[in-house]
Structures are given as C-alpha cells and as structure tokens.
C-alpha cells in the first residue's frame, strides 16, 4: 500500500515556511508516447496522490494490459477525454517535494492541438519532450521541438520512453540521442538533457533504474528538483506595466497616487530614473510599496505599487521602465504568429492586440511566410489556418513599448483577439522593429 506523502512533507516541520521555489514545466509527446503515464508516474512515485484519489484510480476499470493501474487517468480531466481515451486540452497538475513545488502543464500531442502546446510552453520554464524508444525521433518530435524553440524555452529534457520495450538498450538510447542532437543544433536549443525512462515501469522517473546501469545521469525528478532556472535575475531591463492606479481620495490620503503592477523583469530601486512609455515622460521613483510596506527595491515577479516624484498623467496601458535601458517604441512590428482559431486569419479586418495591460487595434500589414513545422521549411502563404505558425508584420493603432521576445519574453509576447468573437485567436512573439 501507498506510504502517505512521506517525500512531500518530510521537511515541512512545524512553524517552518518552506524556503523553496516554483518550477513550471510542460510535457510534449505524440499520441502514444505515454505523456499522461509519465506524469501519473511522477505523482505516484513521489507520493503526491492522496488516498481517495488512489481509491478512485483503483476502482476505475481502465487497466494496463498486465492488470496494473493505468496512471494516465490521473491527468485526464474531461468526460469527452475519458470516453475517447485522449487528452484534449491543457491540464494543470501540482506536486511538491522537499526541494521544489512543481506545476505541470499536460498538453496534447495531436497536430490539431498545437495551440495548446504553445499555451503550455508560454507558461513554462522547462519542456519535457517524450520520444518513444521504439520509434525514435519522428515528425511530431520535430514539431514539438520547434514550438519549444519558438517560445524560447531554455531548458529541454528529452525523455526517451518505453525503454522496457527495447530491452533497456544503450545502443537504442544513443541512436536517438544522436539524431535528436541534430534537431537541437538546427533549432538552437541551448540546454538539452537526455534521460532514458520507462514511465510505465517507473525506471529513472523518481528512482534511478536498476535496469540501465550504463546510464549514469540523474533520474527525471532529481533533474527537475535541482536545475537552476532563475534566468531573469541579471536582467537590466526593469519593466512594470501599470495595471491599476490606486487613489483613495480620502481626506488623510488626499495626495496618494500609487501605480499598481507587477515587475515583469529587472529591478526598481528608490530614486531610480524612470520613463513612462509610450509618452516618454521621465521622472524618478519616490516610494516603493509591496503589501502596504515600504521597500528600497523590488525585483521581477513582485506585485508592487510605485510612486513617482512628479505628478504625471499615467493610467492602465502605460509601462514604467528604467531610463537607462528603454524598450523599443513602435507601431510596426515583425512577429512570429501562432494561429489559434478555427476561423482563418483575415487580413481585411482589424484585430485587437493585447500586450500586457495595453489593448490596441492592429492590422496585418504583411505575411512573410509560414513554417512547415514538421520539416521546418518556410513556405509562402496568404493566410493562416488553425495551428499555423509563421512570420508576419503588424501595424498597431497606438505605439507599443516592447522588447524582442528572444530578449524579454514577458515584454515581447502579445495576443490577438478577434473583435467579432472576443476569442484569443493568435499568439505573437515580437522579433524585430519594422518601422
């Protein structure tokens, strides 16, 4: 029987707040690569499944061929999925060990759900790409890796799964390692780690496998627990989009005017010279508050309230940046686009573009190309269908203050909204100023 939550809670002693951080990762694989099984195995072996969930699991009539529990059930959320036995959307799962808290975005591998993978990748620090040891690198592997590179994920783990089906062969592993290295090189993936696993049997997921003594690296969980992902720490680009202006307008707080937002990147310090964009007006920081307490400095990720020395007209949609490293301000932008709607891109209409707290009208000035995401070839096109990815040039009604996506993800990404349906129809990654 299960040992309850030993791993999960063993350091959580009375009165001690965990001093650990958060790692968000997503998993990509083809239909039968065993993604859901891998996640189920991580949860199960790290003892993150509670007893009643386990009971529900055991009562379910979905079993593997050998009669063991089908762990994939743990992440299949919707009725339609249970009926079809496939994952059709992004499901978020949570677990923690004594080293980290994890958020998993489980995304489907079907080609028609490329958009979900883009979504999952946009919210992750790390990608796990599953490859079936029997099939090796296939078309879908290229597609998933392309999305990972497009979304600029810096950390990639290639899990070569179903090693039990190839007799835990080192040769099979090496062959896949070699052919994936070529893809990684082509896509300029920086940090790639290869782990041979069997999600079904549990090899190298949480515990090091006894079946593959030739593999000397870490188990998947060990790797996830120890990898360093705080890449924003050194960023000099201090950015804070204004979400809301706090003005109590009471007698005692008559002059209080605080600009509320979250620091996207970099740090702000008291007395820093800042520029308000897109207006370009400059001022200095007179007070920094977080949670109603004054601070000398704040770093990326923190929700803050900033006060300025001068009384300037600032509202939602403006962005405060440090004057020494200002972003690009432009109305014409070259961007990668992932189309996410069943209705194709219509170059004759105006879309809404949402970039942090700013929403402005925008039109598609030019379509440069789209990419065959299986072969990585650029192809000419005059429209984008659901799941198409390619390069366009947009023109916005109002100037945007942005960074290039490859340099600053959170200030370099935006969404397109169809004003007819209000649906989110496209993801944009800004690549160059086209003015």
């Amino acid at each position: 029987m299960i040992k309850y939550l030993r791993l999960q809670w063993k350091t959580a002693k009375k009165g001690v707040i965990f001093n650990m951080d958060l790692l968000k990762f997503f998993t990509a694989g083809s239909v039968d690569d065993g993604k859901s099984t891998l996640i189920g195995r991580l949860l199960y072996d790290s003892e993150s499944i509670l007893a009643d969930q386990l009971e529900a699991l055991q009562q379910s009539n979905r079993k593997n061929d050998d009669g063991t529990i089908d762990l994939a059930i743990l992440t299949d959320g919707l009725k339609a999925e249970r009926e079809q036995g496939i994952t059709i959307d992004v499901a978020y799962k949570y677990f923690q060990t004594d080293k980290r808290k994890f958020i998993i975005a489980d995304t489907p591998g079907h080609i028609q759900y490329t958009r979900n993978m883009v979504t999952g990748a946009s919210n992750s620090d790390l990608a796990i790409i599953l490859v079936d040891a029997r099939n090796g690198v296939v078309e879908q592997t290229v597609r998933h890796s392309f999305i990972v590179s497009l979304l600029e994920l810096k950390h990639v783990v290639v899990c070569i799964n179903k090693m039990d089906m190839v007799n835990f062969s080192e040769e099979a592993f090496n062959k896949i390692h070699k052919s994936y290295s070529e893809i990684a090189l082509k896509l300029k993936l920086k940090e790639v780690t290869y782990i041979p696993v069997s999600a079904l049997k549990g090899d190298n997921i949480v515990n090091r496998s006894q079946n593959m003594p030739w593999y000397t690296g870490k188990s998947l969980l060990d790797h996830l627990e120890t990898i360093e992902v705080n890449e924003d720490v050194k960023s000099v680009q201090a950015r804070m989009p204004v979400q809301w202006v706090i003005r109590p307008q009471t007698d005692e707080l008559h002059d209080y005017r605080g600009y509320a937002g979250r620091v996207l990147s970099g740090s702000f310090r008291l007395n820093d010279q800042i520029t308000v964009l897109p207006s370009g007006i400059r001022s200095a920081i007179s007070k920094i508050e977080t949670n109603m307490q004054e601070q000398d400095e704040v770093h990326s990720g923190t929700s803050v309230t900033l006060h300025l020395k001068d009384n300037i007209d600032i509202g939602r949609g403006d962005i405060l940046v440090n004057s020494t490293h200002e972003p690009i301000v432009s109305q014409s932008i070259e961007a990668d686009l992932c189309w996410m709607d069943t209705k194709p891109l219509d170059t004759s209409i105006l879309y809404l573009l949402q970039h942090n707290s700013k929403v402005t009208k925008c039109k598609i000035r030019d379509i440069l190309h789209k990419v065959n995401i299986n072969t990585l070839e650029k192809i000419e096109t005059d429209t984008f269908q659901l799941n198409d990815i390619g390069r366009i040039v947009i023109r916005t009604a109002e100037p945007l203050a942005f960074d290039l996506y490859q340099e600053n993800k959170l200030n370099g990404g935006a969404i397109l909204i169809d004003p007819r349906t209000n649906l989110t129809v496209g993801a944009l990654m800004f690549r160059a100023n086209a003015e």
Partner: protein, 301 residues
C-alpha cells in the same frame, strides 16, 4: 530581498495580486464571490494587498443557502465590519419563495444544487461582468483544466471546448453583453499552500475549521453536524464528538472529520498526514465521477 530568496508562497501571492488587479483594470462591474471558506477569506487578504490603501474595486457577494453554519455567518459579518467593504447577499430562500427552484425533500435533501439559480440571479441583478472565485485546480480533475479567466455564456454555462488559450500572463477579459467571466486568482495554489499562507499571514478563520466538541450524526458513512436542515429522524443517532471541518459549505453536504487539531500548526500537520483529499469530505462530488464537470457546465462556482 533577492529573487533567489523568494519562496513559492511569494510567487503565488504575487500572481494572485496580479490577477486581481487585472480584474479591476479590465471589467466594469466585478464582484468577489465570498463563501466564508478559507479560500475566499484568503482572496480577501490578497485583495487588501492588491488595492489598499484604496477601497476594493468590487463588492463581496455571498450566496446564503440558509443552511450555513452559524459560525460562518457571524465570521462573515465581523469581517465585513473590519474591512469596511460592501457585501451583497443572495438568499436561496428567496429563489424558493419565488418558485424558481423546488426544495428537495427526504434525508439527503440539500440546497447545494439550488444555489446555482440564486447565484445566476444575483449576478444578473448586480450586472456583474466578472466574478472572482476561490476555486483551485488541485481540488478536482475537471478544475485542473479551468482557465484563470473562464468565460460563461448568458446562461452561466462553461464550455470546456471553447476555452480561450491563456498565454504568458495575458488574460483576455473581452466578453459580449450578457456573458460574464469567472476569475480564479488562486488557481495554482494547493490546499496546503493556502494553509501555509494563512499561517504566514495570521489570517483569521471561522471557528469550525478548528477542532471543537459538536453534536454529530452519521450519514452515508460521513459525520454531519446535527442540525434541523438535515431532516433528522429517530434513526439518526446524535453523538458528541471532537470534530473539525476541512471545507465550509452548506451544512447538508459538508462532512466533519474527527480531530483534535485546534491550532493552525496542528491542522497543517494533520493535512500533511491526511489520507483524504479535501473534496472527499464534500458529499456533493460523490454523486458521480463526472459530477463536478456537469455542475460547472450548469453555472456552479
């Protein structure tokens, strides 16, 4: 403070404050759905952090089934007096009196399902375009796929197939007239995260979360608070037990667990050792495996 020193609780808090401010910035008439439970109490604390020293840019809305624990109601009223924000109450009894819903009868009767109608009426009356709720994705499988901004049609329904992709930290709150958005700022929190946060922030909770002596009866293998609304009869043996409640819902469907945990540290210890996940003590999910999904499609929180 250095970025490496921030804990995951700081990260979760910053994200929740960010989402609350997005609601304030994007919507005309938002509201915060307040149940009296620990998750919505946590939301109130997060709203204080997001908007003080200003007022909340939204009222609190409580759907009162009439079968709430009296401790919850008195906690709610004390809290409102302390924070000085507006509270709007929707009464399930009103929906019953208006003939919009019919009260269930028999031993397992509950007003839990009826409150969906009262909620939708209260939203329509207040013309609320965004309702902030304390649901978490770790609670239940159907919730694992819910967006942070979840659009409901004019009938209050959730369509899992028409969910908008949510990229980076950009939330699309554009809606048509009659639609509204449910917003879940603590989607990424787990039950233990909420408890650790409550401890860190010294947040006050209704007394029923802590172990106390209470008259209980056993129904379907679960301990229920003895109360008139449970339609008790001679078969129901009333016993005095030391119990606490892990969630705060309607008395008809919120089961107690036996416990001596009367301090927050003890509760956290107990949860760590627990063999039952939180909603396991809520009878309304036991109806069928797909119960939650069905109720969400119908407009439940």
């Amino acid at each position: 403070m250095n970025k490496q020193d921030t804990t995951y609780l700081d990260q979760l808090e910053a994200e929740a404050i960010f989402i609350l401010r997005e609601v304030a910035g994007q919507f005309e008439k938002p509201a915060l759905l307040f149940s009296g439970g620990k998750d919505s109490i946590t939301l109130v604390r997060l709203a204080e952090k997001a908007f003080r020293p200003g007022k909340f840019p939204f009222p609190l809305v409580h759907i009162d089934t009439g079968h709430n624990f009296p401790e919850t109601i008195s906690f709610r009223d004390d809290m409102i007096a302390r924070i000085g924000e507006k509270l709007i109450i929707g009464h399930v009894q009103d929906s019953i009196d208006q003939g919009k819903v019919i009260e269930q009868t028999g031993k397992n009767a509950s007003r839990n399902a009826l409150q969906t109608v009262t909620l939708l009426d209260t939203i329509a009356e207040g013309k609320f375009d965004a309702c902030i709720g304390g649901a978490r994705r770790d609670e239940e499988k159907a919730r694992a796929k819910e967006r942070i901004f979840s659009v409901r049609d004019e009938f209050g329904q959730w369509d899992p197939k028409r969910q908008r992709p949510e990229l980076w930290n950009i939330y699309n709150g554009k809606i048509h007239k009659g639609e509204n958005v449910r917003v879940f700022p603590i989607s990424n929190w787990t039950e233990l995260d909420v408890w650790n946060y409550i401890r860190r922030e010294n947040i006050e909770l209704p007394s029923i979360y802590f172990a106390h002596e209470r008259d209980v009866i056993t129904r379907n293998g679960q301990l229920m608070a003895a109360a008139d609304c449970l339609n008790m009869d001679a078969d129901d043996q009333i016993e005095r037990r030391n119990v606490r409640f892990r969630t705060v819902g309607d008395m008809t469907c919120t089961a107690a667990v036996e416990s001596d945990a009367d301090q927050i540290d003890d509760i956290i210890e107990e949860i760590k050792m627990s063999k039952i996940s939180e909603r396991g003590a809520r009878m309304d999910d036991k109806v069928s495996e797909a119960a939650m999904e069905d109720r969400k499609k119908g407009g439940y929180f």
